[in-house]
Structure formats: C-alpha cells, structure tokens
Amino acid sequence: MRSSPFDHRPLHDLGAALREALQPIDNQEFVDRVMAAARVGDRSLFRGDGWEVLSAWARPGLAAAAAIVVLAVAITISVGGSSPFEEVTIDDALQTTTTQSATLLLVAAPNPPDIDIVLALSYER
C-alpha cells in the first residue's frame, strides 16, 4: 500500500515499524510490578484504612446527632409545653410558702403580673 505523510489515516507500515521499535518485552512482569506498588499504596489509595472509614462517617454522624437534638428540643417545647412561669395566677402567688418565692415567681414570669396578684402579695406582707 502506498502511503504519504499527508494521509489522514494511520499508516500501517510506518505504524508497524514504530510499534516494533517501541515494543516492550515482558509485559506481565511490568503488570506485576505496578500491582505490587498499587498494593503497597492500597491503604492510602483505597478506603481500607480504619481511621479513614471512621473519619468519613464522623461528619454525617455528628450532623445526624445534632439534628436529633434540635428535633427533640422542638418537640419538647411544642408538646410538653408549658413553662412553670407562663401563667401566674393569683392562687399560685398566694399559695407560695414565702413572699420571696412569690416575688421570684412574678419576676420570672414572661408576662407582666396582674395588679390583683401584686396587691395580694402586699396584703400578705
């Protein structure tokens, strides 16, 4: 077959000569050598290292734990619901054993106290 440098197809005669000139011997020995090197680096190249496995799982594990905590707090607040200071009635204030605890109860309450409660405490004093 005639061939030319202008040919856009591979030239078989030139390719065959080049192949022979570059042809390595004993490819199996080379394969064994590469695979031995790959096995030496196996622990770092692949996921065989135990610490890598643990560290890979650490981040999603922590994220899942944080999500569970947030969910639990949200459920507790919405369902279990009521703070002891939320609604202080006149009876609550009057039933406290000491004036100091009754005052604390009023101060800690989220809403301003009813005037009747304040008056009741004054009476107690």
């Binding site: 022979e20 570059l22 042809q23 590469v34």
Partner: protein
C-alpha cells in the same frame, strides 16, 4: 472522530469478533474503572493489563531509555489509580489514561534534563549496526529508534499515538492539550522525517547486502 468516539483498539481488542468491539470495550472499561474507584484492586489490575503495552510504548516515545519509560508508565498507572474519581465514565478510558502517561513521561524527562540525543546514544549503544544480514532487523530498529529520538518530543508522541495506537487527531489533541491542526502538522512532519530516515537506511542496507 470525536473524543467520545471509539477508543483505539488495544491488542486484546484487535482479536475480538464483536461487530462493535470498541464500544463494548469502552463500556467494559468504564465498569472496571467504576469498580476500581470503589476500591476493587482486581478491576484496576485488569485495566493495567489491557493498557500496559500501550502505556509503555507511549512512555518510551518520550523517554528513549526503556527503564525510564517503564518508571514513567508505572507512575502514570499509580497516578491514574489515585485520580480515578476524576475520570468521566461516559468517555473512553484510553485517551484519559494516555494523557496521564504522556504527562508522567514528560515530567520525568524534564526532571532528568536528558536530551534526546543523549538518550539516543544509550538506546543504540553497541558501536552501531553493521549491515550484517543476520542483524538486519536489529539494525533496522536501531536506525528507526535513532530517527525517532531526533524528532521533537511532541512529534514523537503525536505520530506514536496516531500511527501505532490508532487514536484520532481529535483524541490526540485532547491527550496532548494542543489544537487538532497542530496534531495534524506534528504527525505530518514526524512521518516525513521518519520515512526519509527509513528510506535512507533501506537504500544503504540494500547496497551493502547486494
């Protein structure tokens, strides 16, 4: 042919009788690469076996010293193993790997600062081939290696990838990261110089023998 076209045939692939063996091989190699990425060293071994002859030839096209070439080819395989996650399985595996091989060989050559002429003297050491009929093949190959070593590195790679390994101009452009027109030009100039060297040697050999 586009980058996503068929891979060039490997030696094993040449023997297959499947109507579309290149496509089948591309799929197989994508699967092997995926398994290797997942940690399957045996799958990686199959890829190494398939591409060892080709990788060694391409590395030797850059580094005429066979030991250097093999070291570069090994570096390339291990680098490919480390970076398999970056391989796009929708593309043929061969060009991706050959890019790594070419880069590994070029890096090694730069580190060693070995000129092609120096490599040539080592590769063809032995006093030069006489036109002995018994050693004609050896002499031919020595002359061919000499001519190849005198080419610029990029031309050596381009002509090897095109005429030996069967990659398309487009694929070689991707492998070497150069325009397709430059690949065509490199292949053309490399062929012309190799053929000139060969014809000269063949004429000389025939005169001596006859």
């Amino acid at each position: 042919m586009s980058w996503k076209g068929r891979s060039p045939p490997t030696e094993a692939g040449n023997r297959q009788q499947d109507p579309n063996p290149a496509r089948k091989r591309d799929v197989e190699e994508s699967i092997l690469a995926a398994r290797a990425t997942a940690g399957d060293l045996e799958a990686f071994g199959q890829l190494v076996e398939r591409y060892t002859p080709q990788a060694r030839r391409v590395a030797r096209a850059v580094l005429a010293d066979p030991d250097d070439g093999d070291d570069a080819a090994q570096d390339a395989f291990l680098s490919a193993l480390r970076h398999l996650g970056r391989y796009d399985p929708s593309r043929p595996f061969g060009p991706w790997l050959m890019r790594i091989v070419a880069n590994a060989a070029a890096d090694r050559r730069r580190r060693r600062k070995v000129r092609a002429a120096d490599e040539l003297s080592e590769a063809t050491s032995g006093g030069g081939p006489g036109p002995d009929v018994e050693t004609d093949r050896w002499a031919f190959l020595a002359a061919f290696r000499r001519a190849l070593a005198l080419l610029p590195e990029r031309q050596r790679l381009a002509v090897t990838l095109f005429d030996v390994e069967g990659y398309s101009h487009a694929q070689i452009a991707e492998i070497l990261d150069i325009p397709q027109g430059t690949v065509r030009s490199d292949v053309f100039h490399a062929r012309r110089r190799l053929r000139t060297a060969l014809v000269t040697w063949q004429h000389h050999w025939k005169e001596e023998v006859v």
